[in-house]
């Protein structure tokens, strides 16, 4: 029915959770994370209380194991639930209730916990952990590798599933996110989720880029606006004002409303600076 992984990136302090499930709107119920605190997956007759209260308990200083013990003690049907918790120190706690539908179980390693229920075999959660450990790079992509491995190990064979991923930074406002993406009711939830994550990471790179935006926007399939403006912004980065101006005039000839857009954008105190230099010429 559901497989998920919670994990902490020991270097960046990011924490995250990724899940795939046959249940509609999975991520809205299963995936919980808070910057500088931890990440939680709550599934199998999902009780969102484990996510909501669990993050509060960990934020107040509880070790994941103590938080989970307390939540279970307050739950009359704890034997139905499956939960995984990780904090920003990489400490984990998990439970697979005795009444979870088999195959159901969990496994933990250094800074991660994988759990699954109503799947083909214990290979599913084992494969998630192995794939997470074997993958390097951004936490979001390591979480996706774990989901792919679960699917390859038998995963969820009943079709039209949902998936989601939530990764939060270490030091940030409580509302900040690295990625927070959802797929609903898809025949190919994991491919869809990977496409979303790769696009989200590409937008992040684009926003921080110094030159090279045009290639990035085209390769990553960014929006028409990004594709249209990238060559102009690239030219401005190298102070090639005449090129930038020529490209801008071509763009406006094609769609006059870009001129209004540029004039408004120029009024932005920070983001408007390159556009102001463009329009002043």
């Amino acid at each position: 029915m559901t497989y998920s992984i919670v994990a902490c990136d020991g270097e960046s302090g990011e924490v995250g959770v990724a899940a795939q499930s046959q249940a509609f709107n999975t991520a809205a119920a299963v995936a919980w994370a808070r910057a500088g605190v931890g990440a939680i997956a709550t599934q199998s007759f999902t009780d969102r209380r484990y996510g909501w209260r669990g993050l509060d308990l960990v934020a107040d200083g509880a070790r994941p194991a103590d938080a989970l013990a307390r939540l279970r003690a307050e739950d009359e049907v704890a034997e139905l639930r499956q939960v995984g918790i990780v904090d920003t120190l990489g400490r984990t706690a998990q439970t697979t209730g005795a009444a979870c539908i088999s195959a159901a179980g969990h496994v933990a390693g250094d800074g991660w916990g994988a759990q699954a229920n109503l799947v083909e075999s214990p290979r599913v959660w084992e494969a998630m952990g192995e794939a997470f450990e074997a993958t390097s790079g951004p936490l979001a992509l390591r979480l996706l590798a774990a989901l792919d491995a679960a699917e390859a190990a038998g995963g969820d064979w009943r079709g039209h599933c949902a998936a989601g991923i939530l990764v939060v930074p270490f030091e940030a406002e409580p509302w900040d996110r690295v990625v927070d993406l959802r797929v609903e009711e898809s025949e190919t939830p994991l491919e869809d989720l990977r496409r979303l994550v790769e696009r989200a990471l590409a937008y992040r790179r684009w926003n921080r880029a110094d030159g090279g935006r045009a290639e990035l926007a085209a390769a990553a399939g960014l929006s028409r606006e990004h594709v249209a403006w990238s060559p102009i912004l690239d030219a401005l980065d190298t102070d090639s004002f005449d090129d930038a101006r020529r490209l801008y005039e071509e763009l406006v000839a094609e769609e006059p409303r870009w001129a209004t857009y540029a004039r408004s954008l120029a009024r932005h105190p920070v983001a408007g600076a390159p556009i102001r230099s463009l329009l002043e010429r």
Binding site: N25, W52, W157, E184, A200, R224
Partner: protein
């Protein structure tokens, strides 16, 4: 760039936001709501601070206008922001910064705020308000009606990419973790509103499926379930047949599944072992 509506349902007191934009994954940024407090849409160089702190200020007793005044006063880039706020008591306020890209504007009224920027025309936000006032449907559908009206009135000149809808209970319950009634996101799609409509129908269908299992569903729930994927309809009918003790009918329903995919037998056995499917043993005995 974006059009959105934040609103309260005067009857149910539910609070919600719906939004569509030519921007990636809008649902993680624009909509904010808390039961008994209010709803906020923050867009145009969207700053989540307006959502998170806006809700806190409303909870602390500020009016929507006072909350917005405080937030814009402490934001050096307030001129590029657009924000709509509705409080649980129906008061509303909005801010469209002077540097928002035209056509940009908002309209507020009792129980709603509709706002849009970077539109083709200035008809977009009045069209949202009109559609919302005219719709008699449940709040999620009224919000979607407003978005449809915005798109029909011109929408965003650069196209469309993502949409989202968030609805919370009118008053906080004793289980605050369950107070979010609906949270649907379309993160990257050529037709975000059509996809949002499809998901909303599915959400209605799955809610109705639970009513169906509990017995005595209203007629609209039966209709909503029929719109679910064939597999879900088949299983809901199987559950109903087994609950009524009609093993023959249940057998006829699952036979094609068992024949096409042997793992369904294991699935039924797992449910049976946990007592979750009545007469499951007979179902497995062909």
């Amino acid at each position: 760039m974006t059009y959105s509506i934040a609103a309260r349902d005067a009857d149910t007191r539910e609070l919600g936001i719906a939004v569509q934009t030519r921007f990636f994954a809008v649902g993680q940024t624009v909509p904010w709501a808390r039961p008994g407090v209010g709803a906020v849409a923050t867009q145009a160089f969207a700053d989540r601070r307006y959502g998170a702190l806006g809700i806190e200020l409303l909870a602390a007793g500020r009016s929507p206008q006072a909350a917005l005044d405080e937030l814009t006063a402490s934001d050096a880039e307030a001129a590029v922001r657009q924000v709509g706020v509705v409080a649980a008591d129906g008061r509303s306020a909005a801010h469209t910064g002077a540097a928002c890209v035209p056509a940009a504007g908002h309209i507020t009224g009792e129980g709603f705020s509709a706002q849009a920027n970077m539109m083709r025309t200035e008809e977009v936000w009045p069209a949202m308000a009109e559609a919302f006032a005219a719709s008699r449907r449940p709040l999620p559908w009224r919000l979607l009606d407003a978005l449809d009206a915005a798109e029909a009135a011109g929408g965003d000149f650069r196209g469309k990419q993502s949409a989202a809808i968030l609805v919370v209970r009118g008053e906080p319950s004793e289980r605050p973790w369950d107070d979010k009634l609906l949270e649907l996101r379309v993160d990257d799609h050529p037709e975000p509103l059509s996809e949002l409509r499809r998901l909303l129908e599915l959400a209605d269908g799955y809610r109705a499926l639970l009513q169906l299992r509990e017995g005595d569903p209203p007629p609209e729930a039966v209709a909503a379930v029929r719109r679910l994927p064939e597999l879900d309809v088949r299983w809901s009918e199987t559950y109903a047949a087994l609950r009524d003790g009609d093993v023959e009918r249940a057998r006829a329903l699952v036979r094609p599944l068992f024949e096409s995919e042997p793992r369904w037998r294991g699935y039924v056995a797992s449910l049976a072992a946990r007592g979750l499917l009545p007469h499951a043993d007979e179902l497995l005995r062909e």
